[in-house]
């Protein structure tokens, strides 16, 4: 207890966030409200999953329950348009996520690790990139591509998706880095590791969960984007664009199947990553505490 910190340090010494048994009485309003809202948010998801199994007569979803079937899953790829759209979305999401992580991580490092002229400008740019309304971003990008007479399509979608994914990657990775503290890199270079080796041997391994998280976030953001894409897509059709179009006249059941599949996959990935993070959490905690 004899460190010379002048400021009080609130996080030290175990402070129970919750009271263990014996409890004081509490009316269970909060939990009821919470679960009610959660329940409501589940409705459309449930509907999607349920109706993806509905044995609809026509190839539009209908309210009447005509019995359980796996038909739509078995004929998932029947609508070439839908399948193409989905594949395009996957490609763009994967590419944009990977590229965003690859070029976004260095930016995060320079923002988290160095003080330099123009840093705050960069920071605000990243912030603005997240904050700007997608309708504006989409419109602006389209005006840009029009003015340079670049025909819209797969490329333009990819370019723009990378642009907005960079911001998400930077935010996630930067948080991770500042959580890590630069001491470890100092230690590495003190132990004869040149900057590159220090990065490969120390920073990167500790960053991996952060990078995964960032990548997943970017992927999700990209595969789910409608507004921006709708401007720069040209004739290319992504999954959300297809769904939006089909929505006007009634969705084909396969859309729900794809939706359900995305849902299940995404959920599992998220849970796995969560567990991963939990494992890394302790290590991060240690480095953080030692900095306090």
């Amino acid at each position: 207890m004899s460190t010379a910190t002048e400021q009080p340090r609130p996080t030290l010494s175990p402070a129970p966030k919750h009271y263990a048994e014996p409890k004081r009485r509490r009316r269970p309003l909060l939990p009821i409200f919470f679960w009610l809202v959660i329940g409501i948010t589940m409705v459309p998801i449930a509907a999607m999953i349920v109706y993806s199994f509905n044995n609809a007569p026509t190839s539009r979803i209908t309210f009447v329950w005509k019995g359980f079937t796996l038909y739509w899953y078995r004929n998932l790829t029947q609508l070439s348009g839908l399948t193409n759209a989905f594949v395009v979305s996957l490609e763009i999401a994967a590419l944009s996520a990977i590229i965003a992580v690859v070029i976004g991580t260095p930016l995060a490092m320079s923002l988290a690790r160095y003080r330099f002229w123009g840093r705050s400008a960069l920071n605000s740019m990243v912030f603005l990139d997240i904050a700007a309304p997608s309708i504006v971003v989409g419109a602006a990008s389209l005006s840009f591509f029009l003015s340079i007479n670049l025909a819209n399509g797969f490329t333009t979608i990819l370019l723009v998706h990378i642009a907005f994914n960079i911001a998400y990657v930077v935010v996630v990775v930067r948080a991770r880095l500042s959580g890590m503290g630069r001491e470890l890199e100092d230690a590495a270079s003190d132990l004869f590791a040149n900057p590159w080796v220090a990065f490969m041997r120390v920073t990167l391994p500790l960053l991996v969960p952060g990078l995964i998280a960032a990548g997943l976030l970017a992927f999700a953001m990209s595969i789910d984007d409608y507004v921006i894409t709708s401007f720069v897509a040209g004739p290319t059709v992504t999954f959300p664009l297809f769904v939006y179009g089909a929505a006007k006249v009634g969705l084909p059941p396969q859309v729900l199947c794809f939706g359900t599949i995305i849902f299940v996959v995404g959920l599992t990935v998220a849970i796995v990553n969560g567990l991963l993070n939990r494992r890394f959490a302790q290590t991060r905690a240690v480095t953080e505490d030692s900095l306090a």
């Binding site: 207890m1 004899s2 460190t3 010379a4 910190t5 002048e6 400021q7 009080p8 340090r9 609130p10 030290l12 010494s13 129970p16 009271y19 263990a20 014996p22 409890k23 004081r24």
Partner: protein
């Protein structure tokens, strides 16, 4: 609870008839699942006393305090505040205030509003009265000019004073302090101790003070209790507890201590190498009981220096290490039978200090040593 009373011989239990104790814990326990944080604790604080809970980390000090403050409910036992059973009352219904280890100042309020918070909640005073009360309490802790500052704009020591004022302004019957100096550095800490003591004397209310720093506890308390894994090891005035600890744990926790095994033959107590030693008066020694001597009670000098009185105990030894600490020197000595002893000498002339390897003479007055019965060991 009788057993405890015999053991601790507390002097407070008798006079319930007169005026009720400011705080009384009656066999209070607190379990967290498996861990027993506090184990049927009995305490009794007469009004106006400065009482310290002293103990290693995790021994249950904070939990005890939190139960008095009403932040935890006891798993068993009763909490009385001047005679009234408050075991179930929520904090905001208790006439008690707390200074938290991390101060827990409200970051969104300035110093004045922080201090005024309690008064406003109670709403017994009009605005001016509140202002006056707050002003005078800031005065009291020597922060007259700081009303408008935000908690982020003041130093740790000042934050500490604000927390104190925020509690005192409500004139509580009892003030609870959980390691209030924990976050301060040695220097500020020292001055705050004096400050705190002064304030307590001025306002004259009961302080229940939690710390794991024994010198802090001894410097400030009228009485202190040494806690160990949830129960009370020893209780009494600092001098008594330091010079005549009831248990080995207390002896060692309150500062380093030489503990020597004794054997008895022919009614004479002897050390490991058979040297006969005089006992403190009234200590009836049995084989297997332990003799305790505090390092500062061991006088160390070059061989043949005539230290101590005629009836002092004497030993020959050699210095193994001498650590210079500025104001004093700490010696590690090896006794004839090989055991290591610690001694502690105030520095006067530099050349009088012994160096590692020097042979030396150790002397202590029997009255300065104490006995531990083996059962307490």
């Amino acid at each position: 609870m009788s057993t405890d009373q015999q053991l601790y011989g507390t002097d407070a239990v008798g006079d319930e008839a007169a005026e009720p104790a400011a705080i009384r814990l009656d066999g209070v326990s607190r379990h967290f699942g498996e861990t027993i944080a506090v184990d049927s604790l009995h305490l009794e604080l007469p009004p106006g006393e400065f009482f310290s809970l002293l103990g290693p980390s995790g021994c249950g000090k904070t939990t005890t305090l939190r139960m008095v403050g009403g932040f935890e409910l006891p798993s068993a036992g009763t909490v009385y505040l001047d005679g009234r059973d408050v075991t179930g009352l929520p904090p905001y219904k208790r006439d008690v205030n707390t200074v938290f280890q991390s101060y827990a100042l409200f970051p969104h309020l300035n110093v004045f509003e922080n201090v005024a918070f309690g008064l406003r909640r109670r709403g017994r005073l009009d605005r001016d009265a509140v202002r006056r009360r707050v002003e005078e309490n800031l005065e009291l802790v020597g922060l007259a000019g700081f009303s408008k500052r935000r908690p982020t704009q003041i130093s740790g020591g000042q934050a500490q004073r604000v927390a104190l004022a925020r509690a005192l302004v409500n004139h509580p019957k009892v003030l609870l302090l959980d390691e209030p100096m924990g976050a301060l550095d040695a220097r500020i800490r020292k001055s705050m101790q004096v400050e705190l003591k002064r304030i307590q004397r001025e306002v004259g209310i009961t302080f229940l003070y939690v710390t794991h720093d024994q010198s802090e506890a001894m410097a400030m308390s009228d009485r202190l209790a040494v806690m160990h894994s949830g129960h009370c090891e020893d209780m009494g005035p600092p001098v008594r507890v330091y010079d005549q600890p009831a248990t080995r744990f207390t002896a060692e926790f309150l500062g380093s201590c030489n503990l020597l095994e004794l054997t008895v033959d022919g009614g004479v107590a002897r050390l490991a190498d058979g040297t006969a030693v005089r006992m403190p008066d009234g200590g009836q020694v049995r084989s297997g009981s332990t003799l305790g001597i505090r390092p500062e009670k061991l006088l160390v000098g070059p061989v043949g220096s005539e230290l101590g009185g005629v009836d002092a105990n004497r030993l020959q030894a050699t210095v193994t290490t001498a650590t210079y600490l500025g104001a004093s020197t700490e010696y590690e000595l090896s006794a004839p039978w090989g055991e290591r002893l610690g001694a502690f000498a105030q520095n006067l002339d530099p050349d009088a200090r012994l160096q590692a390897g020097d042979p030396c003479e150790i002397v202590w007055d029997p009255a300065h040593s104490f006995l531990l019965a083996e059962d307490s060991v």
